[in-house]
Amino acid sequence: MYLNSIFADPERTARLIDIAKTSLQPLLEGAIMNTIPLTIISFIIGLILAVLTALARISQVKFFQIVARVYVSAIRGTPLLVQLFIIFYGLPNIGITLDPFISAVIGFSLSVGAYASEVIRAAILSIPKGQWEAGYSIGMTYTQALKRIILPQAAKVSLPPLSNTFISLVKDTSLASLVLVTEMFRRAQEIASTNYEFLLVYTEAALLYWVICFFLSVIQGFLEKRLDRYAS
């Protein structure tokens, strides 16, 4: 019916094509200025957090284990949207007012850190104990063995699940629209609220998300091939 109404009316068709064209630029702007930087920055910080959390979980020190467990449990046990609201709308009540983008980065980093830490923990534990011992036997310290021997091998194991996390994150950044970050989806909302062509504009945004994620899976395939030079 919607399609009928479009093609039956050449004037409306022209208007829709025009809207699709003119909204492309602001949507891409939102993607390039906010969605993509938000994703990349949050993922990098999240990954560092995740490695630290994973190491804390497998460390011998009870205190680190407990801190890591509570962190992962709290983040996984509460909705991301609620976390973002606490950071952006809640913290000002105790005098901490953050820029929308910064709030979003904090929220997403914490989220990635918790979810990815489980992936990295499993990957580290999947590397045979003999690899640690071989590193130690040539005089390496814990840190050297971790950096040179264990993490590179764990990276290979964790690449597919981490790619999943990354792709999810691209889409989750749309939640940042609700804490006033003018990322791609917020731009879409702004455009749609002026011309009421919700179906068209939101679909256009969805297609752009899809394109971004498609490229990411291509990169994932490429990385997997590169890390597969050695078979283990």
Binding site: P128, G130, Q131, E133, A134, Y136, S137, I138, G139, M140, T141, Y142, Q144, R148, I149, P152, Q153, K156, R229, Y230, A231, S232
Partner: protein, 244 residues
């Protein structure tokens, strides 16, 4: 010289080493034999502190670790550098080529330049007969070749003593010879070696001394000619009868 004094190791309730005393002079080759569960591997792993002994003193060329007290991590790392370890399962780094495996220690632990490490690694791989396999990944090498890379990797740290933990047990029979030959060459060059193995021929031909362990203690030690033909202890006789 290497010495072990009053070495005990307990895993939970299980006492694996019950007071080992052992001295190995520089340049000597000592082969350790004994039934499985006798503690020979554990003793070897205590020597390079992959296992922390419950108590006892180990010393290599004047450096001591006394495990009756708490030993700081830093001392353990520097002590380990005196020993080279060859594992039963090779434990090569699968994400690095043969050359990179051997370079890793000199480059990262000894902080030699990449060029110096590469030169040294390349020479060592030639020495173990793998000059043409430098750029192969472990998965592309046979078990015997992997184990020889393992030996080269340990040698690259220029250890005072080489420890071999059943280096040929995981190998197909036809590949054992190449590894044993490398070990014999090392012995002939005067490397101090402690070898846990079931290869009695190697023990006969290359060892200065054979040690028989059972149930966490050294039962008997003697020259190979003596221990194989004329064992003094009942337990040694029984074991040798079983494997021959």
């Amino acid at each position: 010289m290497i010495s072990i004094k009053g070495l005990y190791k307990q895993f939970g309730q299980l006492e694996v080493l019950k007071g080992i005393d052992l001295e190995v002079e520089k340049g000597k080759v000592v082969v350790v034999i004994g039934p499985s569960g006798s503690g020979k591997t554990t003793m070897l792993r205590c020597l390079n502190v992959l296992e922390i002994p419950t108590k006892g003193v180990v010393s290599i060329e004047g450096q001591n670790l006394d495990f009756s007290k708490n030993v700081p991590q830093k001392n353990i790392a520097s002590f380990r550098r005196l020993t080279g370890m060859v594992f039963q399962g090779y434990n090569l780094f699968p994400h690095k080529t043969a050359l990179e495996n051997v370079m890793e220690g000199p480059m990262i632990v000894k902080r030699e330049t990449k060029e110096a490490a590469r030169k040294k690694a390349s020479a060592l791989l030639k020495k173990v007969g793998l000059g043409d396999k430098q750029d192969y990944y472990p998965a592309q090498l046979s078990g015997g070749q992997q184990q020889r890379v393992g030996i080269a990797r340990a040698l690259a740290m220029e250890p005072e003593v080489m420890l071999f933990d059943e280096p040929t047990s995981a190998l197909d029979p036809e590949l054992v010879g190449d590894v044993l030959k490398v070990m014999k060459d090392l012995a002939a060059e005067g490397m101090t070696m402690i070898v846990v193995t079931h290869e009695m021929r190697f023990a006969r031909e290359a060892a200065d001394e054979v040690i028989f362990m059972d149930q966490g203690v050294v039962v008997e030690r003697d020259k190979p000619a003596e221990i194989f033909t004329n064992p003094k202890e009942e337990r040694t006789k029984k074991f040798l009868n079983m494997i021959q």
